[in-house]
């Protein structure tokens, strides 16, 4: 935990810096902020609010990603013990990855990685 000390201080420094830049700009800016400017779409005012139920075409990719990503949780600690545990650790991890890659290959064939 002690080693996170500098990181905590750095976080504070970073936040203070951003606040300082904003403060400096408030002091230097040629004019106060405009409020309620129309959103830009090419010059005509928007006819509808852009906030909407946004249909992402890649939602299957997110699901496959989340499943695959879980594995990273195990892989980071795994890197530390390969020398100690030896061949079984390597076999185990890459069998595990092979199973997941088979899942990815399946998803690819089904077109889940495309903008359907």
């Amino acid at each position: 935990m002690v080693q996170f000390g500098p990181v905590g201080v750095l976080l504070l420094v970073g936040v203070v810096l951003v606040v300082l830049v904003y403060g400096l700009s408030a002091f230097l800016a040629v004019a106060r902020p405009v409020v309620d400017a129309v959103a830009f779409g090419g010059g005509l005012p928007p006819v509808e609010h852009a906030f909407s139920r946004f249909h992402v075409r890649w939602y299957p990719v997110t699901m496959v990603f989340l499943a695959f990503d879980m594995e990273m949780l195990f892989m980071y600690p795994w890197t530390l013990v390969v020398t100690r545990v030896g061949a079984p650790a390597v076999i185990e991890m890459f069998l595990f990855l092979a199973i997941l890659l088979a899942g990815v290959a399946y998803a690819w064939r089904e077109g889940a990685l495309r903008w359907t």
Binding site: H49, I99, A102
Partner: protein, 186 residues
């Protein structure tokens, strides 16, 4: 001293932003309030001396909350809370459950007679975690692998409208997939 201050700040942030999840109207803000709560909890885990777990919690939660924001906004009406309408189902009930759980846990924590720590934690926790994961039972990882494989297959089956027969024809003989939008490979 510094640890105490950090603990209280992170704890208060975690609870307040968790509470904000119930108070905000915008799906986007709700999701990121939840993320703020998780990040504060990750900080608390780091404070407990579990560096790897804390950092990896932050890593996973950022990814997952962004994905969750995408889905929340895709399916929930009024995603930005522009209309003054409530998007909650059974708000009172869920609020009662969460506040109640919080109270029970907090009281439990305060009333429990915690044992005094004897000895010191192992110096390299991430290493110990790796040993525990890899230690002897291959079964754990294999079960997990097959479970995740099943998850991938199931989500693909459930979420894609068009399968390989739609793309390559009934005999899967088409040289190129027929998709509404092209892709990078094949």
């Amino acid at each position: 001293m510094l640890a105490d201050v950090s603990f209280w700040v992170l704890g208060i942030v975690a609870v307040l932003s968790g509470f904000a999840v119930f108070r905000l109207n915008s799906m986007a803000r709700v999701t990121f309030a939840l993320l703020a709560s998780f990040l504060a909890v990750a900080g608390l885990v780091v404070l407990l001396g579990l560096g790897y777990l804390g950092v990896v919690t932050a890593l996973m939660m950022v990814i997952e909350m962004v994905v969750m924001a995408v889905f929340m906004i895709m399916y929930m009406m009024n995603p930005a809370g522009l209309m003054p309408m409530s998007m909650y189902h059974n708000k009172a009930g869920s609020m009662a459950i969460s506040v109640g759980t919080f109270a029970v846990l907090a009281v439990g924590i305060l009333l429990t007679d915690w044992p005094v720590r004897r000895g010191v934690p192992a110096p390299a926790q991430t290493y110990q975690l790796g040993l525990a994961l890899m230690g002897g039972q291959m079964l754990t990882m294999m079960t997990l692998g097959v479970t995740l494989f099943a998850t991938i297959v199931a989500t693909v089956v459930l979420s894609t409208g068009r399968g390989r027969y739609d793309r390559y024809g009934d005999d899967l003989a088409a040289p190129r997939a027929d998709d509404p939008a092209g892709g990078g490979v094949g």
